[in-house]
């Protein structure tokens, strides 16, 4: 059975299409692997036994782990929150339906930070996810369950959501590939909303080719999400072998002291690899990017405070039973149902939108967002890509940052600017580094950002780099 689990999605799909493997056999092998979850990566697995018609399509027979933020008809969907405990949605998210239509099948729902708010997966109401490389460390967040499942050999591929780095950062900390597509590439219909102007669905996979396959299946305009536009020309598996003639920009404000020495070493080595492949490296100034965190932690909580107003105990989810009147029911339901980080962000957002503070916080943050988008536009007039480390450090210890929300937020320093600008960015593993405090080496992610809707070009470059780097490391005990 080990042999089946070692295949990438592209390899398995090709063997299933050629009749060399039966789709059911492949799915069963993964169901068995997922059942051995010791990382708390899954919140629920989808029971088999139900008759299942495998659709014909490019992902025929491929099991996919789905972040528990995507509504799946009749299957529990919690968004990592107590307030949605027991909720079974009456419909399925478009992204999941599209995977299904391409022949894929849901393997299980993965753990996550509550309502996707977090960078360590420690904000889940259902307990933290453990990093398969070192179970004393976090997998990153908020798509921590999806990343740990793929890295830990519990799923061949997964999908997640990225609002400020929630796909890229856990992919980086778990040593896999994570892609945040352009805002609008994939429908948000049925994806439980956190910050609607930033949220975007994307794949977490073993390699760049698999990310392209999942993106190809999911992208496209959806009448149920008026902000979805799809990717013109679609997406195909990448095949580019070099980076000749391509220009890569390193932000001059990056401040190479602002990230760990081990991360810096891997980052520099990856830049050298790009040059060896014929790519050109130069510095570019993104003067407003350093204000990304400040703008993000106004805009995202503001939108969240509005989106999460719907959890009032009336139409779905949990309701506090003891309330004497309606307002008390609302307050008790919300106070018992939300965890500390979600409350913190609702409070922050409500404050930023409240009378007298709106212009100073929300209005100002929206202007910073314009400046950041302008910085990227200027960079892309000269360069093909902007590159940074994905995360300032390798995976940190469980509990290490939980007492200091601001230091947790600063983890998103490299990923937030792309989210604010709405542009696509991918994280690929390019090496291992020792944590700052010493210890066994852990994966380091390299982030490549491209202009809006240039996903194909981004995947081609990431593929060429991936082939040259040849990152083959896996956590101990994981095949493949």
């Amino acid at each position: 059975m080990g042999g089946l689990l070692e295949l990438t999605v592209a390899q398995a799909a090709a063997k299933i299409a050629a009749g060399e493997i039966a789709a059911e056999e492949y799915y069963e092998a993964w169901r068995g692997a997922a059942a051995g979850d010791e990382l708390n990566a899954y919140l629920c697995s989808v029971d088999d036994g139900a008759a299942y018609e495998v659709e014909e399509g490019p992902l025929r027979g491929i099991p996919v782990a789905i972040k528990d933020i995507f509504c799946t008809e009749g299957t529990p969907t919690t968004a990592g929150s107590r307030i949605l405990e027991g909720y079974r949605p009456p419909y399925t998210a478009t992204a999941v339906r599209r995977l299904d239509a391409a022949g894929a099948r849901v393997l299980g729902k993965t753990n996550m930070d509550e309502f996707a708010m977090g960078s360590s997966n420690e904000n889940s109401a259902y307990g933290p996810v453990l990093n398969p490389w070192d179970r004393g460390r976090v997998p990153g967040g908020s798509s921590g369950g999806s990343a740990a499942a793929v890295a830990g050999g519990l799923a061949p591929c997964a999908i997640g959501t990225d609002t400020g780095g929630s796909i890229r950062q856990p992919a980086s900390l778990c040593g896999i590939v994570g892609l945040k597509p352009t805002y609008g590439a994939i429908s948000r219909y049925g994806m439980i909303a956190f910050a609607s102007s930033l949220d975007q669905c994307g794949p977490l996979t073993r390699d760049v080719t698999d990310a392209a396959l999942l993106l190809a299946a999911m992208e496209g305009r959806d009448p149920c999400d008026s902000t979805s536009v799809g990717i013109e020309g679609g997406v195909v598996a990448p095949s580019q072998e070099d980076l000749k003639g391509l220009r890569f920009a390193v932000p001059s404000e990056l401040g190479r002291d602002s990230f760990d020495a081990g991360v810096r070493e891997v980052f520099e080595a990856t830049l050298a690899r790009i040059e060896a492949l014929g790519g050109e490296i130069a510095e570019v100034s993104l003067p407003s990017a350093e204000h990304g965190i400040s703008a993000y932690y106004v805009i995202a909580p503001a939108e969240a405070s509005s989106n999460l107003a719907r959890y009032d105990g009336v139409r779905y989810g949990q309701r506090a039973e003891t309330a004497a009147d309606l307002v008390e029911m609302y307050e008790t339901t919300r106070s018992e149902g939300f965890g500390p980080e979600v409350k913190r962000r609702i409070m922050l957002g409500t404050y930023a939108l409240s009378s007298g503070y709106y212009d100073a916080y929300y209005g100002q943050a929206q202007k910073v967002r314009t400046k950041i988008a302008d910085d990227f536009s200027a960079a892309f007039a000269e360069f093909d890509f902007v590159v940074t480390p994905t995360s300032p450090s390798v995976a940190f210890g469980l509990g290490e940052k939980t007492d200091d929300p601001l230091s947790m937020y600063l983890n998103d320093f490299f990923t937030v600017p792309m989210s604010l600008a709405g542009i696509p960015a991918i994280s690929i593993p390019t090496g291992l580094a020792e944590p700052a405090g010493g210890g066994p080496k852990l994966p380091v992610g390299f982030q490549i950002a491209a202009p809006a809707f240039a996903e194909q070009k981004l995947l081609e470059a990431a593929y060429a780099l991936e082939q040259a780097v040849g990152f083959e490391s896996r956590p101990e005990g994981v095949d493949g």
Binding site: R319, L326, M347, G422
Partner: protein, 99 residues
């Protein structure tokens, strides 16, 4: 230094957000929000006069569809996840305690 947000403001915001904070939560929240706002406040000092705000990155205008009826979720399916469905509606406690 004066905290960015005081206890009274936190209580007011909690009321707006329909959250009830316990005494220890109130204490922690006041400190944490002050710390975060202090960081966030850096952008308050930037001169952004004349910069257009961005609310959305994809420029879309009037995304329309044909105005034709299509099936929606049946009422009983939509009501099924509700804590207390009643006669095709959502039952809630009285808006006034003594009513």
């Amino acid at each position: 230094m004066r905290p960015m947000i005081d206890r009274e403001q936190v209580l007011h915001v909690a009321k707006l957000a329909r959250l009830r904070l316990s005494e220890p939560e109130l204490e922690t929240m006041t400190g944490e929000l002050s710390g975060i706002l202090e960081h966030v406040d850096r952008i308050g000092k930037l001169d952004l006069e004349g910069v257009e705000p961005t609310s959305h990155v994809v420029e879309l205008e009037n995304v329309l569809r044909a105005d034709v009826p299509r099936p929606s979720l049946p009422r009983e399916v939509a009501l099924a996840p509700a804590p207390e469905p009643l006669d095709g509606a959502f039952r809630v406690p009285s808006p006034q305690a003594d009513a």
